[in-house]
C-alpha cells in the first residue's frame, strides 16, 4: 500500500506559512485592510474589545468622548500665575509645529511614520506662567477617570506636544479629538487623549495606569519590563 509523507508536508507548510507571514504579513494585511475592516464592521464591539486584532484603541470608559467645537474648553490651572481657559478657536490659533514619530504601545505594537501637528507645551507655559512649586503636570481626559502625568521637565522634551492634527487631518474621535498629548519617547498610555484640562501640581499624582501598576516614567524600551 502506498504511503505519503503528509506529516512532514503539514509541518513544513505551517513553518513555510509562518516564514511568509514574517516577511510579508504586514504588507498582506495592509493590502487587505479595507475588505477586512468592512468584514470586521459586522463584529460586535463587545467581542472586539475582548479580542484585539492588530493595534487597537483602548478606552477605560467607552464610548469615546465626543468633541463639540462650540462647547470645548481647554483649562490650564493649578500652580500657575495666570490660569487660562481657552476656547477651541483660541486653541486652534496657537502657534503649531509638525513632527513625524513612531508610536509605541506598551502591549508591543508599533506604528511608524505618524505625522503630528500641534502646540508645544512651552507655548502654554509662557501663557500661564507656572509657579516655582509646579513640578508635575496632570493631563486630564474627557474620558471619565483617565488622567496621566509628566514632570515639568518632561513636558518640554523635544517632540512633546498637544497634537490636534494627525496625518494631515484633524484628530479623529478614536484618536482623541480635539487634542491629545504626544510624547514619542514614552509608551502610548502617557499620550492622554480627549484632553480638556491640565493641572500643574507640586507632587506626583500617579495616573490611571500607574495606579494599576504601570511605570510612571514609561520610556520606550526602558520601562514596564521591556
Amino acid at each position: 500500500m502506498g504511503e505519503r509523507r503528509i506529516g512532514r508536508a503539514a509541518f513544513l507548510s505551517v513553518v513555510g506559512a509562518g516564514g511568509i507571514g514574517l516577511l510579508f504579513g504586514d504588507r498582506i494585511t495592509s493590502a487587505l485592510h479595507a475588505p477586512i475592516a468592512d468584514a470586521g464592521s459586522i463584529v460586535p464591539n463587545a467581542i472586539k474589545d475582548v479580542f484585539p486584532t492588530g493595534w487597537r484603541i483602548y478606552a477605560i470608559n467607552p464610548p469615546w468622548p465626543t468633541f463639540d467645537p462650540a462647547d470645548y474648553r481647554l483649562e490650564i490651572t493649578g500652580h500657575v500665575r495666570k490660569p487660562v481657559t481657552l476656547t477651541w478657536p483660541e486653541v486652534s490659533a496657537l502657534p503649531a509645529v509638525s513632527q513625524t514619530n513612531t508610536f509605541h504601545c506598551v502591549t508591543g505594537w508599533t506604528v511608524s511614520n505618524v505625522h503630528w501637528r500641534g502646540v508645544r507645551l512651552q507655548t502654554l507655559w509662557d501663557m500661564v506662567e507656572p509657579l516655582p512649586s509646579a513640578r508635575y503636570a496632570n493631563f486630564v481626559s474627557m474620558e471619565r477617570g483617565y488622567v496621566d502625568t509628566l514632570s515639568m521637565k518632561q513636558t518640554i522634551l523635544p517632540g512633546v506636544m498637544l497634537a490636534h492634527t494627525m496625518q494631515g487631518r484633524p484628530l479623529s474621535r478614536a484618536h482623541g479629538s480635539p487634542m491629545r498629548l504626544v510624547i514619542p519617547e514614552m509608551y502610548g498610555y502617557k499620550n492622554v487623549k480627549w484632553l480638556h484640562r491640565i493641572e500643574l501640581v507640586p507632587q506626583l499624582e500617579p495616573g490611571f495606569w500607574e495606579q494599576n501598576g504601570y511605570d510612571v516614567d514609561a520610556w520606550v524600551g526602558r520601562s514596564n519590563g521591556y
Binding site: R5, I6, G21, L22, V50, G108
Partner: protein, 220 residues
C-alpha cells in the same frame, strides 16, 4: 511496535480488562513537556495580550519572564528527550506521524463527510498525525516570531523589519482551537476520552484499541 500486554486475567470469573501499551515513556514525556509548557505559554501570553488583563499585565516583567522561560524549557526539554532517546522511540513516532496510507487519506475524507464506515486506523489516526505535525510546526513558528518580538523589544533597529507580532497572533488563533478540540476529545467525548489513560499510564484497554485503532491492534 507497541502492544505488549500489561495486565491480563480474571477475578472471580469476571473478566478483567486487558491493557496494551500505547505510548512509551519517551512519547509521554514529550507530550507532557509540550502540554505543561503550552499551558504556561498560553496563560501568560493571554495576560500580556488581552485588554481584559491589562491590570495584571502591569506586572509585565513577571509574565514575560514566565512566558520566555516556558518557551526555553520546551526547547531545552525537547533537546534532552531527543538526545536521551537512544532506543529511537521518538524517531519511530515521528515516522508514524509522517506517513499516511490510503486508509489515512480515506479517514480524513470520512472525518469531514462522515459517510460510510470509519476507515481502519493504526496507532495514530490521521487526525492525530495531522494535529501533531501542525502543532510542532506552530511551536517553531511561535518560537521564531517570539524571538523576533523579544529582539524588537530590546533593539529599536529590529522594529518593523518583520511581521512578528502578526504571525505570533495568527499562530495563537490557530493553536487555541486545535488544543481546545484536543481537550474535548480526551476529556469530554465519551468514545475517545479513554485515550487519556494511554497518555497518563501508557496503556489502553485492548477492546478500545481494537475499536478505534484496529490496524494497530492487528499488529499486536
Amino acid at each position: 511496535m507497541p502492544g505488549s500486554a500489561a495486565r491480563t486475567g480474571t477475578e472471580r470469573g469476571r473478566p478483567r480488562p486487558v491493557y496494551v501499551r500505547r505510548f512509551w515513556p519517551e512519547e509521554r514525556s514529550l507530550h507532557w513537556l509540550l502540554a505543561v509548557t503550552f499551558v504556561i505559554l498560553l496563560a501568560t501570553g493571554l495576560i500580556l495580550y488581552l485588554p481584559a488583563f491589562a491590570e495584571l499585565a502591569a506586572n509585565r516583567r513577571l509574565w514575560k519572564s514566565l512566558h520566555l522561560g516556558a518557551a526555553i524549557a520546551f526547547w531545552a526539554g525537547l533537546v534532552v528527550l531527543v538526545a536521551s532517546d537512544t532506543g529511537g522511540r521518538l524517531r519511530t513516532t515521528a515516522s508514524e506521524v509522517d506517513r499516511f496510507d490510503e486508509d489515512d487519506l480515506r479517514w480524513m475524507r470520512w472525518a469531514v463527510t462522515r459517510r460510510g464506515d470509519e476507515p481502519p486506523q493504526g496507532r495514530f489516526n490521521a487526525g492525530q498525525k495531522l494535529n501533531t505535525a501542525v502543532v510542532f510546526g506552530l511551536m517553531l513558528v511561535f518560537s521564531v516570531s517570539g524571538l523576533l518580538m523579544y529582539l524588537q523589544e530590546t533593539d529599536a533597529a529590529v522594529r518593523g523589519r518583520t511581521s512578528a507580532i502578526l504571525v505570533h497572533d495568527v499562530a495563537t488563533w490557530i493553536a487555541v482551537p486545535l488544543v481546545a478540540g484536543h481537550l474535548y476529545l480526551v476529556l469530554v467525548n465519551p468514545s475517545t476520552r479513554h485515550s487519556l489513560r494511554g497518555m497518563v499510564l501508557g496503556t489502553v484497554r485492548r477492546d478500545w484499541a481494537r475499536r478505534h485503532h484496529p490496524k494497530w491492534d492487528a499488529d499486536d
